[in-house]
């Protein structure tokens, strides 16, 4: 067992670990290098700033995800239960967020996930593919011939919001509201807490979303349609079903979770292909590689850096004893670059096999929207590789948001070179 202090600030043998600060520039801008050093120096590392264990090796992250009995996902209990997460000024925010099923443990989690699961199976999601293809075409037109086109706000932001809004059954007239609210809500979930303005904005966003969904739930109750809200209402009819509040909270979760993460996934993919132009050629030569390519984007630079847990009971990770109430940060972005699990992990290989990355997590909390994110990413890159000879990143320096949870670019402009029709 390594003493946390032993590696806290100094360099390791190679002189590579200059800092263990998760919020440092090194960590935010160069996570692959940062975590490579941490993985070797101290794979289950105590970080005094975050006040918890940072788990970076593939095997240990996997074990952490599987150990849901000891490691709780409940963000409103344990060490997070009494640290001012319940600000009276933001009641609605608290009420809605605390109903998000991602932050529940079994048996509650099992019940809600079981009811939501059917709508997000690979087969259900396949039904959305043709419409997603159309949306991609429409949005993609804005990138054509574009010098300095805004990929993040002009394409990546819109695609997932439109797909999930339509799936839920939100009328197109509310789309701009949805986008704005979703963005404001993202500001409080993924970014460092403590910003009062941000919390107030997020609270207003949640109030807006709640009243919109409450209206829609009422409308669908009297007149069901072929959409997800009607589906959730139907699933709500049994004894174990969803209450209206749960439907509304989880509809908000769908909007938000489908937006921020997929947007980052698409953008990070553009950056990866820019860095490895030979892989772009490969995709152009063989468009069917888009399925493994989506997996490789997820592995190489997925949208989630880390997932937080806390110990309900004493457990052990990688030989380190984790005491009750200790916080644990599982870091898939590190696990996915662990040479113990992946051959040549720093190379971006769109036909990598096997590729059992942990970008969606693992076990009972594995991302519900995984199939949807995959499908959207496949359709986006199928289109982009077909239409554009090259996509160059047009940022002088890539800037990432200062968050330890998500891997989010602040902006992403591109030069998209149209493909000559041969």
């Amino acid at each position: 067992m390594v003493e946390p202090e032993a590696v806290a600030v100094s360099a390791d043998g190679d002189g590579r670990l200059l800092t263990d600060d998760l919020f440092s520039n090194q960590s935010i801008d160069h996570p692959f290098d940062f975590f490579a050093a941490l993985r070797d120096a101290d794979p289950v590392h105590y970080d005094p700033r975050w006040d918890g264990w940072v788990v970076t090796r593939y095997e240990d992250v996997l074990a952490g995800f599987k150990d849901y009995e000891s490691l709780s996902s409940d963000r409103f209990a344990g060490p997070w239960g009494s640290d001012g997460q319940r600000p009276s000024a933001h009641e609605k925010l608290y009420e809605v967020l605390s109903d998000f099923f991602v932050w529940k443990d079994p048996p509650e989690h099992t019940r809600v996930r079981g009811l939501m699961n059917k709508a997000f199976t690979p087969r259900s999601v396949e039904q959305l593919r043709p419409r997603t293809r159309e949306i991609v075409q429409d949005l993609g037109a804005s990138l054509r011939g574009g010098r300095n086109a805004d990929f993040l706000n002009g394409f990546a932001f819109h695609l997932p919001v439109i797909v999930i809004s339509e799936y839920l059954g939100v009328p197109a007239t509310h789309r701009e509201d949805i986008k704005r609210w979703s963005e404001d809500l993202g500001g409080v979930i993924f970014v460092k807490a403590g910003d009062k303005d941000r919390k107030a904005r997020a609270n207003r966003a949640v109030e807006g979303l709640s009243s919109l969904f409450r209206e829609l739930v009422e409308a669908r109750r009297s007149e069901p349609r072929e959409d997800l809200l009607s589906g959730m209402l139907q699933a709500g009819e049994g004894d174990d079903g969803l209450s209206d509040d749960e439907i509304i909270s989880n509809a908000i979760l769908m909007i938000f979770a489908g937006h921020e993460t997929t947007m980052n996934l698409l953008s990070n993919g553009i950056v990866a292909f820019d860095r490895f132009p030979d892989q772009w050629r490969r995709l152009q030569d063989d468009p069917d590689l888009v399925r493994p390519a989506a997996e490789e984007i997820l592995r190489y630079d997925g949208p989630i850096r880390a997932m937080a847990r806390w110990a309900r009971s004493e457990t052990e990770i990688g030989g380190q004893r984790i005491k009750p109430l200790d916080r644990v940060l599982l870091v898939p972005i590190s696990a996915n670059h662990d040479p113990r699990a992946f051959e040549d992990p720093e190379s971006f290989d769109i036909d990598r096999s096997p590729n059992k990355h942990l970008a969606f997590g693992y076990g009972i909390h594995m991302c519900l929207g995984a199939a949807l994110a995959r499908m959207e990413t496949q359709e986006a890159f199928r289109f982009l590789a077909r239409e554009f000879d090259r996509i160059e990143v047009a940022e002088e320096k890539l800037q990432y948001k200062e968050t330890i949870i998500s891997r989010s670019l602040k902006t992403l402009h591109i030069n998209a070179h149209d493909r000559a029709i041969g």
Partner: protein, 86 residues
């Protein structure tokens, strides 16, 4: 009872360990037919689940990791679109 068992044994399922992410939707749907072993779920041949339960379990898998075949003919019952698996 005998009839039910016979119809059940005509179904065979398998879990692709390279795809399985231990989400355990399958064992929630058909507890006697799927069991977590190490990092992945496995199919338990000797089970009490009905064919419908096993098919539903396969369909519920978020990773499309489960294949269901008819034992006698070898016909693949799920997934019906091979593209879902690639």
């Amino acid at each position: 009872m005998t009839a039910m068992r016979e119809s059940r044994t005509e179904i065979w399922a398998s879990v692709d360990p390279d795809l399985c992410a231990a989400v355990t939707m399958c064992s929630a749907m058909a507890p006697s037919a799927f069991r977590l072993e190490g990092d992945v779920s496995v199919y338990v041949a000797d089970n009490d689940a009905t064919a419908d339960e096993i098919l539903e379990a396969a369909e519920s898998c978020p990773m499309a990791a489960i294949t269901v075949t008819e034992e006698r003919t070898g016909e693949q019952l799920f997934p019906d679109k091979p593209s879902l698996q690639s």
